[in-house]
Subunit: 333 residues, 2 copies
């Protein structure tokens, strides 16, 4: 019932001595009279007293803590990464602490305080750009760090090549005979986060160029990362006088919006409109969406493994894992 944590003062009061004596019982027991000591020990027991700060400091010192800094996870792709991380960390003796970031200032504040007061053994930073100075502090504080989706020469990372992915998607559509291909990306590019979508667009552009094709400017659409907006953008594309015959959506989540638009407009997929996504979310399989798989779960798992390796043996050099991309052909192309 009484949830108040007892302090050394409570003990001293109960035992009828000063706090100094209580402290001595704890630290230098032989310096206090056996009878007094006994009385104080009883008081300690009956109050369930535990010198908290110390216990905490000690616990935090050695106990393994691994932090994950991630953009606030509305996007399913972050969730799937997190799932990979959690599953890899599951049986380890490490605690998993989640820091969600929702603004650049927020990220900065974490980067300032975590190395110093975070008590972390390791840190995984997902899809966020970190500047040189905070990074140096991280390293000096002895926190092993792994980036996901952010390359840095001195820090281990797990990356995918979004440019190649964009190219793969485009080449797949080209190979199916499409020439009028539109691109749908998202606009949610907070300045503090990576924006892989731009890279995918770049790859898409490269492939189109290589095939000698122009992309009409109105075929490159950006919409906020919601189903409705994606749906709306797709609808506008399809209502144009010369609509595209294929759409490359830079994220599966948006591809689903496109699919829904096609359904609503009675546009047959893939006959009248081919759709390809990117990510291979869980839902992509359900929706039979052709997509570029980037194995999100795996990226999280690998990040944890990189971290654990380095924690076990800090002399190991940083590694940079490039996760392969894979075209998953389903029903929408």
């Amino acid at each position: 019932m009484s949830s108040k944590k007892p302090t050394i003062y409570d003990v001293s009061r109960l035992a009828g001595v000063s706090i100094a004596t209580v402290s001595r019982v704890l630290n230098t027991p032989d310096k206090v009279n056996p009878e007094t000591r006994q009385r104080i020990l009883e008081a300690i027991d009956s109050l369930q007293f535990m010198p908290k700060a110390e216990a905490r400091a000690r616990a935090l010192q050695s106990t393994g803590r691994i932090g994950v800094i991630t953009p606030f996870f509305t996007a399913p792709s972050f969730v799937q990464r997190l799932r990979g991380i959690a599953s890899a960390l599951g049986r380890e003796k490490y605690e998993l602490i989640i820091y969600t970031v929702e603004s650049s200032a927020h990220l900065q504040s974490y980067l300032v305080s975590l190395p110093l007061t975070g008590n972390l053994d390791g840190l995984i930073i997902v899809s966020l750009a970190v500047e040189a100075a905070p990074m140096r502090r991280l390293m000096e504080a002895g926190i092993e760090t792994v980036f996901i989706e952010f390359p840095h020469p001195d820090i281990s990372s797990v990356q995918i090549d979004d440019v190649v992915g964009g190219r793969m998607a485009a080449e797949h559509l080209l190979q199916k005979g499409h020439t009028r291909i539109a691109f749908l990306g998202d606009t949610d590019l907070p300045e503090y986060a990576m924006h892989p979508v731009s890279m995918r667009l770049m790859g898409f552009r490269q492939a189109m160029q290589a095939a000698g094709l122009q992309i009409p400017p109105e075929f490159v659409r950006l919409a906020p990362y919601t189903h409705e907006k994606a749906l709306q953008a797709a609808a506008e594309l399809l209502q144009a006088p010369q609509p595209p015959t294929a759409i490359f959506a830079a994220t599966d989540f948006q591809a689903l919006g496109v699919l829904k638009a096609a359904r609503q407009m009675q546009v047959k997929v893939p006959e009248q409109l081919a759709i390809i996504g990117f990510d291979d979310l869980d839902m992509a399989e359900y929706a039979d969406l052709t997509t570029i798989r980037q194995h999100l779960d795996e990226s999280g798992r690998l990040a944890v493994e990189l971290l654990l390796t380095r924690l076990a043996d800090p002399s190991r050099p940083p590694q940079h894992i490039h996760l392969p991309l894979q075209l998953i052909q389903r029903q929408t192309t």
Copy 2:
């Protein structure tokens, strides 16, 4: 060179500010002028200043840690709850620590160690059954606890009434004129976790009974929690000589499998087959699935609020919030 460990005072002197400002740079960096902050950070770097965990713990009365114990989150519903929790906790000064549980023993081990070494201020336990003894220990350790989906008189909780939800789903289908209604639930009922699906089935049964209808035994199907298995179970139902005209899937995730089966078998939804799900996951909206919304994000958010309220004022009595369910009518019924 200099042997003494630098303290916050050294930093403040070097940076020409008060110790308060240095402390703020560490704890609430956005509350200090960028230029000042920069100067202080430089001082910190040049002195290799490292705040002492013990002193910090002392000044900081609360440890600022909130744990979440959740079954290992493959299921999207857990993820959405977690999202609610993370978002509610976002700006608070609490750390969010995730403990994923994958077996009964695992859960027990957490319940044993967390009260002692966890250093937690609060704990949210999601969809897990906790016995009396471990719970007592939790309370004695002074860890405020909130349950999601597990009722207990002395502990705050956020619950939904799955029986009512099952009834709502059934009544909706009945009202649409269906009489041959099948039920599809999942079989993943680890002994340590709650199994709301059984409750939903119970509600479903009640409503059918109230309408004077029998449920043929073969119309109650259980399948593992994957798309494929749900799809397969649905296919079997639909291939029966007298197939159901409606299916109530106990989770949206499985409802999507049913939808896919219908699509593959060219069964028209909702004309030939009505489908209703449960949860209202993000995907439900995309799939235009009629479902019972249980507002998963909200349940996480509420749990955090309950916890914070009690942490702020432990004398507040435990609350039990019953989250209302809501029928979301979309295109599949």
